[in-house]
């Protein structure tokens, strides 16, 4: 009977620490996707500024409240605009941002093909 009790305690402790680790992973993932708005080229995860530390705490609170990743991004986007997200969504304001690299790649490729391959032949 005693050993069953111990087993239950061990399983409980293990599952708690596992869920804590999972929450910490998710928190890190979210903070890595957020830009520290007062820093130079740092994510919230990398930064130790007051702003970043407050955002980290807020995310921890929101996760404890049961909010998911998407809800947290939406919440912060609502407060600070698209700029806080490293991965802005595909909409009319960001068409150009997303399509520009593809366009550049196609045009660059066409130039290379024309200049080097076709000319060589």
């Amino acid at each position: 009977m005693k050993s069953i009790k111990y087993l239950i305690i061990i399983v409980f402790l293990f599952s708690t620490s596992l869920s804590n680790a999972q929450e910490k992973d998710l928190q890190n993932k979210i903070t890595k996707n957020l830009r520290c708005l007062i820093c130079q080229g740092q994510s919230v995860y990398d930064s130790d500024s007051d702003f970043a530390n407050s955002v980290k705490l807020l995310i921890e609170k929101k996760l404890d409240e049961g909010q998911n990743e998407k809800q947290i991004y939406e919440y912060l986007k609502n407060k600070y605009g698209d700029w806080i997200l490293y991965d802005p969504k595909f909409d009319k304001n960001t068409y150009f941002l997303w399509l520009m690299p593809i366009l550049l790649f196609i045009i660059g490729g066409a130039i290379i093909v024309r200049l080097f391959i076709i000319k060589k032949n």
Partner: protein, 172 residues
């Protein structure tokens, strides 16, 4: 013919790139989100500085007047700079100044107010800085002019003479 079309296409493309960068370089470096203006104030619960009782945002901003929500801390030097402007605004009957004491020690905050006087009707506490994030703030000092539960102006950084004049004009 084919080569001509290609050249025209290439020229148009580079002109387009030139204008994008030209326009991009002219944009100001300081990012201020457009959607922070004319937004509803956040709904929150916070402790009052003097007695630690809980107060809601609805209770603080309930009256039909202008509010200036000022984020400050005793350790923040620019807060000292803007304090005389807050003291002057404090005398305006149309405006109520609410303080949000950001990541501060109570003892130091009291000392700060004793030295420079208290322009705030209510001061709420933000020990961990999360309440400031609710407001969409970047740091200290920062101020939000509020009318009818809406943020009508957001000021990042300390108040100065120009901003002071602008606030006075807005609350007339």
């Amino acid at each position: 013919m084919k080569s001509k079309i290609f050249q025209i296409f290439l020229t148009i493309f580079f002109i387009m790139i030139f204008f994008i960068f030209y326009k991009g370089l002219k944009n100001p470096n300081i990012y201020v989100p457009k959607n922070s203006l004319e937004k509803d104030i956040p709904s929150f619960k916070a402790k009052i500085f003097d007695n630690n009782t809980l107060v809601t945002s609805e209770e603080i901003f309930k009256r039909d007047k202008f509010y200036l929500m000022n984020i400050w801390a005793s350790w923040c030097l620019p807060c000292r700079e803007e304090h005389p402007f807050l003291m002057e605004l404090h005398s305006n009957k149309n405006l109520e100044i609410i303080g949000l004491n950001y990541k501060d020690k109570k003892k130091n905050a009291y000392k700060f107010l004793k030295e420079l006087n208290n322009p705030y009707e209510i001061i709420i506490l933000d020990k961990d800085g999360t309440l400031a994030i609710e407001w969409g703030a970047y740091g200290v000092p920062e101020s939000f002019l509020i009318q009818n539960q809406k943020i009508i102006k957001k000021i990042i950084g300390p108040l100065n003479k120009d901003l002071f004049t602008e606030i006075k004009r807005l609350i007339k």
